[in-house]
Symmetry: C2
Subunit: 382 residues, 2 copies
């Protein structure tokens, strides 16, 4: 048995190690959907485009099949499909932009597809070459370019997903799976300016744990959290959960969490928890850390901190601002959190709905995504 | 908002609190599949019967809809279906039997549907009345009775499943979902006698965590474990993982784990970890604890124990036998486990492939499921 597998035990020898863009085929659909009006108010994920990318894998049929661009349409899934029972599934989220000079750009897709491979390893899915995936995605984006709204702060949300395609009622290794990418045109996350969120700390639930899988973008990290977010909403009217591991602050809802404060040493510091295996290695998180370090205006730290430190800093008025970071909103300002029935307020500019650093980070990210600032290693032109 | 929800925040007022068997409708399919031959060799989950039970829920359309028995056929799922991305899904497993006196019986379905409600709460799904679900299932079993093989140790595996039916690219509360039950005729788990399994202890991965959701039968507890079971198989040829939480023994593969040993105090003891939130409250586990306590022949304990205790007991030849417990196999004897590259052997009767207590427990369970032993509170005749 051992000889069939490589060192990581995740790729099958004798089957294709990755699909390739050179094998991509295009299956034209008979009719295209009408495009939205120029002033359409987009809701996040409310519309899908005409086409999707689909790549099937079958261990008994040569591994990865030819990548295919085809109509975005429903799948037929057997009620015994293993994804529906055992959550053998992962996803990614990134965006395509029309820049100010009318070019089409993907923002750091290489990071997403590297992370997707790490999810694949967790689920026993085969890996692929992230460069080949990026090239296939570029072809899809070229075909669907007209779906990207040509308006400020609009973009095309890109959702890669992998699911198991075995129909079986027992948990065992994956033989067939499918990777697909769907696209959805989106407007600004906050169409009428920032709306700062309220967070709920539940000391009775833990999202992820050491030596678990909280650092993977797999379905199993999401569905089970719905109970706690609902509890917070019902009890305190909060929007998201500030996830704690015992007292350690980890993530906010489905976003990484940043605090800008004067720390106990009296230094101005932007802080977010480190990648210890319980934190999703967010692409926006990584971009923000890089950009703010380059400013050289305050300390930027990735280190563990406790909710008690944050509560103390709030009480002592040392917190300047706090925000979540993720692909959908880029930054999402936080106005308060509830811990043990007590609400702690975090300063937010009343008019703008966010602090000055949060606003500045958003602008830096928008300038990169709009092509006004150059950073070639992050900007993948289509 | 608050007034719309009850104390647990999980049921919607003004919508139906449960579906009801009295609303059940039957949609006949035009053609039935051919039934397997009398000597058919069943593989677990390899066949599905003609019909399934399906109950839809829509918060914007009165909540629970009428239960429907209809053809078991593929679903159409949009690529943006939230179950495929966020693992908003749970399942159950139980069996229907033809007894020695030709009656049809479900074994403890009430326990499964109570546990399913606890999974529903975790996922923000609406709850239902377990009695109504059991009555609907009975109707399905009546229609499909001819699919239950009339042969020793054969049964009809019953797989209830709930999935989210919202199409959305962001994680938010469930508005539409579907509960369904499919059936699959199965033979004995070990058709040619017990095949004892080898277990792999990985000190680098943790399946479930205190204050997590390891006690729920939700998809997210299964897919992410595939990496570790594959690692063990490739490195050591093991069949399943013996999951540890740091040093504490928790579960074996997808089964509860029992050890029968002479403990450090010199007592004969059957031991399994307690329901501390990291352990699935198995129905077979519960049945075995009840039956063995009634024997009054040895101590029966639910208390935490460490892998080092088990290693020491193995070395000192104090382990009589060990087994996994679950619906599919009932009991699954363990012949060894690997910890830190060392293999620890567990005694197994060479001829039978299992220890005496394991064999005895299997027989007690088979007698109950065959109706030879009466225990009315566990035996639900259809």
């Amino acid at each position: 048995m051992l000889g069939l597998f490589n060192r990581t035990g995740m790729r099958f020898m004798g089957t294709k190690q990755s699909f390739h863009k050179s094998d991509l085929t295009f299956q034209e659909r008979p009719n295209l959907k009408p495009k939205p009006a120029a002033d359409h108010q987009y809701t996040f994920g409310g519309l899908s485009t005409d086409y999707m990318l689909e790549i099937n894998y079958d261990v008994h049929n040569g591994g990865w099949q030819r990548p295919l661009i085809k109509a975005n349409e429903p799948f037929e899934l057997d009620p015994a499909n293993a994804t529906l029972h055992y959550s053998i599934e992962c996803f990614e989220g990134l965006k395509a932009y029309i820049t100010h000079d009318d070019r089409t750009m993907l923002f750091r897709p290489d990071k997403n597809f590297e992370r997707m491979n790490s999810s694949h390893r967790q689920l026993g899915f085969p890996e692929f070459n992230p460069k080949e995936m990026t090239e296939c995605l570029k072809e899809l984006i070229k075909i669907e370019k007209e779906w990207i709204p040509r308006r400020p702060m609009h973009s095309l949300y890109v959702r890669p997903t992998s699911i198991c395609m075995d129909d079986r009622l027992s948990l065992s290794k994956v033989e067939k799976m499918k990777t697909f990418i769907i696209l959805s045109p989106v407007g600004p996350y906050y169409p009428r300016g920032f709306v700062p969120v309220k967070l709920y700390c539940d000391t009775n639930t833990v999202r992820a744990w050491p030596q678990g899988f909280g650092d993977k973008k797999i379905g199993g990290n999401y569905g089970p959290t719905l109970r706690t977010s609902r509890m917070g909403n019902l009890k305190f009217g909060t929007d998201q959960v500030l996830w704690l591991l015992h007292d350690w602050v980890t993530e906010a809802g489905t976003m990484n969490f940043f605090v800008f404060w004067k720390n106990e040493e009296g230094e101005d510091e932007l802080i977010t928890p480190p990648l210890d295996g319980t934190i999703l290695p967010g692409v926006t998180r990584d971009s923000i850390l890089t950009l703010t370090k380059e400013l050289r205006q305050f300390k930027v730290s990735t280190r563990p901190f406790k909710i008690q430190e944050l509560m103390k800093a709030c009480t002592e008025k040392r917190v300047y601002e706090a925000f979540g970071a993720g692909t959908a909103a880029i930054v999402s300002p936080v106005q308060s959190f509830v811990y043990d029935n007590v609400t702690y307020e975090i300063p937010v500019d009343k008019e703008k709905g966010a602090g000055k650093l949060t606003q500045r980070i958003l602008q830096m990210m928008l300038d990169l995504q709009d092509g006004k600032t150059n950073r070639p290693e992050w900007q993948f032109y289509v």
